[in-house]
């Protein structure tokens, strides 16, 4: 049933697409590359679903617990005894869930792009990159080894870089792809050092062994890792926090989020796949993968996760309320929702009822993938129609884009947490987990959910209602079947995914977790969400001057939020003024003037000495006789008077 051959085909098929289209696409598959890529992806998605079915229903639980299976593993690079990078496949509830999410969303994006990018000159390259990304992401979620996850982590980073820079002749896209790579690279160094620390104390790089060694209080590895400390924090916590820094970079958590809004320079389907549904949740996945170590051995590190997540969720929601580029609004919204997933893990405990946060986080990851991908693809349809990203160019589009309108509305309702759409269920679980473990975070999350409803419906009303804009140029209508089918399928997911009894399948300890809903608890968040929606409706349903007035009355706060709290400027200051001018320039100067100067000095001095003394060898016998005489007299003086 769970045969390694076909499971390994799930990532290898997209890789085959990358190699095939990358090498020969421009020559031989100019027009068919989209079909080839999509076909391979379809097979891969079917295999993933089959695997999920096999894992959850056929293989099922042993002793009431979902097992961690390793159907494939081989050594890639061995460092020493027990310490090796292995390439393997791990099947456990979260990796199988991610397999389904990644292949499904990727398939939707593959299909959607057939319509969205039709006629592009670099069509084969685009599909090659999509294949590379999907391969890397699948490799990431199935990793059996912490170094394997790091390898695929870098590979998704580079695919993201290539896809953001897809429109390579656009300077803003080039700047954005560079920024995304460098910011996440910076975070990845933290990840790498974290891996070094964890591997040193656990003596292994294999996830299963590592988690086992660092969570059993009797093991010697655990004892040394907890007792060794630096600046009052245990080595284990340092390792976990540094690993989390890597996760925070990839998942655009504050203050490493600055690359995500700029990453919207990429084609919109790419934003849906990479920067909304899959790659950006890699950080959440990483924490979930190491969750037992966080929860059992280092509550301190886990609370760092919680607070970083909550702050990111909150700040991003505020910024999202002020942005006017629809993709940027969605980017900040993504950051905010990932913040939810992060702090849900942060407030969770390990095992049983305590593990509600873990289940909720994974559940939200699942539902968010559906509705956020839908929002991006819907935004893509709007941009495709109106040829602009700016809200002010839109309005009244519900008449021209009926399918986009309805599906977008469903996604907005889902993200705003309106029952019975998917987001409601996952968000309620998160709030419940926060309520029981950390009141401060609960209140922040509650306000954030009201803000979420507001900015999403601000977007919705500004695009589809408000003042009607005449469509520009010829009227080519809503995208074709290729673009509409993914919207409809995702809308079904966004509407219905909430009814999956997620706790039955995914929980911190692999056992079944029953999640019950309390009507009394749900009243506050739903009421706040509805309030946000009505406020947005009042402000944006028809064209008024209310938004400007309110913005003016908020004064400095609005301005600060509009400028994203000046975090980009702060980074620019640090990189340009401090690193370039205070380190780079002096290093280059020192090399040119001091080190090279000394070499030249040595060379020139030698030349000068040679110049000076070369006159002695004149070839004139009289001169030599003179030197001889002077020498003899000198020696005579020396012997007679000095050394008597």
């Amino acid at each position: 049933m769970l045969n390694a051959t076909y499971i390994s085909l799930i990532p290898l098929l997209p890789l085959a697409g990358f190699v095939l289209l990358g090498l020969f696409g421009r020559k031989y598959f100019k027009n068919t590359s989209g079909i080839i890529g999509t076909g391979l992806m379809l097979v891969s998605a079917v295999l993933a679903l089959y695997t999920a079915y096999g894992y959850f229903f056929e293989y099922g639980k042993a002793d009431g617990v979902y097992q961690k299976l390793v159907p494939l593993k081989y050594t890639w690079l061995e460092f020493g005894k027990g310490l090796s990078i292995d390439m393997g496949i791990v099947l456990d509830p979260i990796s199988v869930m991610m397999l389904v999410v990644v292949t499904f969303i990727s398939l939707m994006v593959h299909i959607y792009s057939l319509g969205y990018l039709k006629g592009e000159e670099r069509f084969p390259t685009y599909y090659a990159y999509l294949g590379l990304f999907t391969f890397s992401m699948l490799g990431l979620v199935m990793s059996s080894n912490i170094f394997q996850i790091y390898i695929f982590w870098e590979l998704v980073g580079v695919s993201s870089f290539l896809l953001i820079g897809y429109y390579y002749d656009k300077p803003s896209a080039v700047a954005a792809c560079k920024k995304a790579f460098i910011v996440t690279r910076f975070a990845d160094v933290g990840f790498l050092i974290g891996i070094l620390i964890l591997s040193f104390y656990s003596g292994t790089l294999d996830f299963n062994t590592l988690i086992a060694a660092l969570t059993s209080p009797e093991s010697s590895e655990y004892k040394t890792a907890v007792t060794a400390s630096f600046l009052g924090i245990s080595a284990l916590s340092w390792g976990l926090i540094l690993v989390f820094v890597g996760g925070a970079g990839k998942s655009a958590m504050f203050p490493l989020h600055i690359w995500l809004p700029d990453a919207m320079e990429g084609p919109t389907p790419v934003s849906a796949l990479i920067h909304a549904a899959t790659m950006v949740v890699a950080g959440v996945f990483l924490v979930a993968r190491l969750f037992p170590v966080f929860a059992i051995s280092s509550p301190g590190a886990l609370s760092v996760v919680a607070y970083v997540g909550a702050i990111s969720a909150f700040i991003a929601a505020i910024i999202a309320c002020t942005q006017t580029d629809i993709k940027r609004v969605l980017a900040y919204s993504t950051m905010s929702q990932i913040g939810y997933m992060m702090f849900a893990l942060g407030v969770s405990g390990y095992g049983g009822e305590n593990g509600l946060g873990y289940t909720a986080s994974m559940f939200h990851l699942f539902t968010h993938a559906m509705f956020k991908a839908l929002l991006f693809l819907g935004a893509g349809a709007v941009i495709h129609f109106i040829h602009s990203n700016e809200m002010k160019d839109m309005g009244g589009l519900r008449k021209y884009l009926p399918i986009t309108h309805i599906t977008f509305l469903i996604a907005c309702l889902a993200i705003a947490g309106v029952p019975p759409f998917a987001g409601f269920f996952s968000k309620e679980e998160i709030l419940l987990a926060a309520y029981h473990h950390n009141q401060a975070i609960y209140w922040m999350a509650l306000i954030t959910s009201a803000l979420t409803a507001f900015y999403m419906f601000r977007l919705y009303f500004s695009i589809f209602w408000n003042k009607e804009q005449q469509p520009h140029g010829e009227h080519h209508g809503e995208g074709g079947f290729a673009m509409m089918m993914p919207l409809v399928l995702l809308a079904i997911g966004a509407a219905a995914a909430g009814f999956i009894p997620f706790g039955h399948y995914v929980s911190s300890d692999g056992k079944t977790l029953e999640t019950a809903f309390h009507l009394s608890f749900s009243i506050a968040p739903v009421a706040l969400g509805l309030a946000g929606i009505f406020l947005a409706m009042w402000m944006y349903k028809s064209q008024t001057d209310k938004p400007e007035k309110i913005a003016a009355s908020l004064g400095g706060l609005y301005k600060a939020a509009y400028h994203k709290f000046y975090i980009d400027e702060l980074y620019l200051f640090i990189t340009h003024k401090i690193i370039f001018n205070l380190i780079g320039r002096p290093a280059a100067w020192f090399d040119k003037v001091v080190v090279d100067g000394l070499v030249n000095l040595a060379g020139n001095t030698t030349t000068k000495i040679a110049e000076t003394i070369k006159g002695f060898q004149s070839g004139k016998v009289q001169q030599y006789a003179l030197y001889f005489l002077v020498g003899v007299i000198g020696l005579a003086v020396l012997f007679i008077y000095v050394w008597k």
Binding site: L77, F79, L83, L155, F181, G584
Partner: protein
């Protein structure tokens, strides 16, 4: 497998190059010779592997020994271990690529190719020598052609660069020679044979004097800070193939010497000097990276980044664990392939755009998709992307360094990890500015790579991918040899 073939084939090629009549024949003879080298290197690799699989655990395989100066105990002694085989493979890859990219050299073609082949002869001889005098002999053969290659076929301030390079490398050679002589006279039984020296006990006092001489002497070749200044000028003035040979082969002579001669034979002193080596290599890694960030010329960027990357070679030696030294060898292979490709690509771009200034580039992906893709691959390799060779090598060095639990080594490792970010900054700046962005109108009519350039790039990329996607073969090849050095380091110093 007769190791003399490794010396004979370049020798025959060089002679034939001198004998044939015109430039076309010179090119084809050289290419044939380079192909033969590559085939031979593969034969050697598989023969070596087979010997190891068959259980031959000798330190050095395929040994040959002929008397040279019997009264002086100097013999023409050849043999290879995993490190040598890795270096020979690298050399063969770089040589064939270098021959291919030089296809359009019109100025004194015969002499040019003769020098290239001579240089490769020196490199092979160096890597298979088991007698220090023979080793030194081949080291000198590998130095002299470089002076002429830069001085005659170079560009820019070529006389200055050629002088600087020759003087600094000669200076390094002199230190090496003095070190070898000191060892020779102080070793029991007057020998310069590597295996004899490894088995004999050299007194700690002698080691203390010899080690810095040899390490610094060889270190000059591999851009040991602060003896690295020949690297930027030398590489940027050299013709394309010259830069490729310089970075891909010559710098590796130094790393190999530091490992095989200095560290292996003078293991007691090596341990005492590990701290300064680590300090200097971390300085080279970071300082080289920051200095690269400020460079504006593509060749200077690659040359300065070589200083940073070769810092990892020395760091791996300084950390003195088996894994870190394996990392050193992997980094040498990786860096050799990568910089050779980088210089080849820069040469292709320069030939077309007539500029190497990053600020004057833009949008080349549109007119030169192949060359730009190669630029991306080599850039990503340089910044350590998994799947390409740089990653596996650097990670092995990091993992090996991390085995030393003392705070000093920890801090050094973490500091060198930080270079990963700086590398990403300068590489992405150079690569994106060159290949992406709006196409400059004056570049609109440029053409993509020709067959010889494509072939050269593909050969090097194949090497990069072979190390990057399946590093285990290199690891398995090198590990027994570095284990031997580690065993030597583990010996207790003699008492008294």
């Amino acid at each position: 497998m007769n190791l003399l073939l490794l010396i004979a084939i370049p020798l025959v090629t060089a002679v034939l190059v001198l004998l044939v009549r015109n430039a076309v024949q010179v090119r084809w003879v050289s290419l044939l010779g380079a192909t033969a080298q590559l085939v031979l290197a593969f034969v050697l690799f598989f023969a070596f592997r087979q010997q190891r699989i068959d259980g031959n655990a000798a330190d050095m395989l395929f040994q040959l020994q002929y008397n040279w100066f019997p009264s002086w105990h100097i013999s023409f002694h050849l043999g290879v271990d995993g490190i040598s085989v890795a270096m020979i493979l690298l050399t063969a890859f770089v040589v064939i690529a270098g021959v291919l990219v030089s296809w359009n050299v019109e100025k004194m073609t015969k002499e040019f190719y003769f020098l290239l082949i001579l240089l490769s002869l020196g490199a092979y001889g160096f890597f298979v020598s088991l007698d220090l005098f023979v080793l030194f002999f081949f080291l000198e053969i590998a130095v002299i052609p470089k002076y002429l290659l830069i001085g005659v076929w170079g560009s820019g301030r070529k006389e200055y660069s050629a002088n600087k390079l020759a003087l600094m490398l000669m200076g390094g050679s002199v230190l090496v020679l003095v070190g070898i002589l000191a060892m020779y006279y102080n070793a029991p039984g007057r020998s310069a044979d590597i295996q004899t020296l490894a088995r004999s006990v050299i007194s700690p006092e002698v080691q203390k004097i010899c080690f810095p001489l040899l390490f610094v002497g060889f270190g000059v070749f591999t851009a040991l800070f602060p003896f690295h200044t020949w690297v930027p000028d030398g590489h940027s003035s050299a013709p394309t193939a010259g830069s490729m040979f310089l970075a891909g082969i010559s710098m590796k002579l130094g790393g190999y010497g530091c490992l095989r001669v200095a560290t292996y034979l003078l293991h007691d002193a090596a341990k005492d000097y590990s701290t300064p080596i680590i300090v200097l290599s971390v300085i080279a890694i970071l300082y080289g990276a920051f200095a690269t960030m400020m460079q504006k010329d593509l060749k200077y960027i690659n040359a300065y980044s070589s200083i940073s990357h070769c810092g990892f070679v020395l760091l791996g030696i300084g950390m003195m664990t088996k894994t870190s030294m394996t990392g050193t060898v992997m980094q040498m292979v990786s860096h050799g392939l990568m910089t050779a490709l980088f210089f080849a690509v820069i040469g292709m771009i320069y030939e077309r755009t007539h500029t190497r200034q990053v600020s004057e580039m833009g949008g080349l992906l549109k007119t030169m998709p192949f060359i730009s893709t190669m630029l991306f691959i080599v850039g990503l390799c340089s910044l350590g992307l998994p799947g390409l060779s740089g990653f596996a090598a650097e990670m092995t060095v990091f993992m090996g360094s991390w085995e030393n639990p003392d705070t000093f080594s920890r801090v050094a490792t973490i500091l060198s990890c930080l270079s990963l970010v700086v590398t990403a900054v300068y590489i992405l700046r150079a690569v994106t500015k060159t290949a992406m962005g709006p196409l400059k109108p004056e570049f609109a009519a440029l053409t993509d790579a020709r067959w010889n350039e494509k072939l050269a790039a593909i050969i090097l990329v194949a090497g990069i991918l072979a190390v990057g996607t399946a590093p285990f073969w290199l690891n398995d090849l090198v590990n027994p040899a570095t284990q031997l050095i580690k065993d030597a380091l583990n010996l207790q110093p003699p008492i008294d």
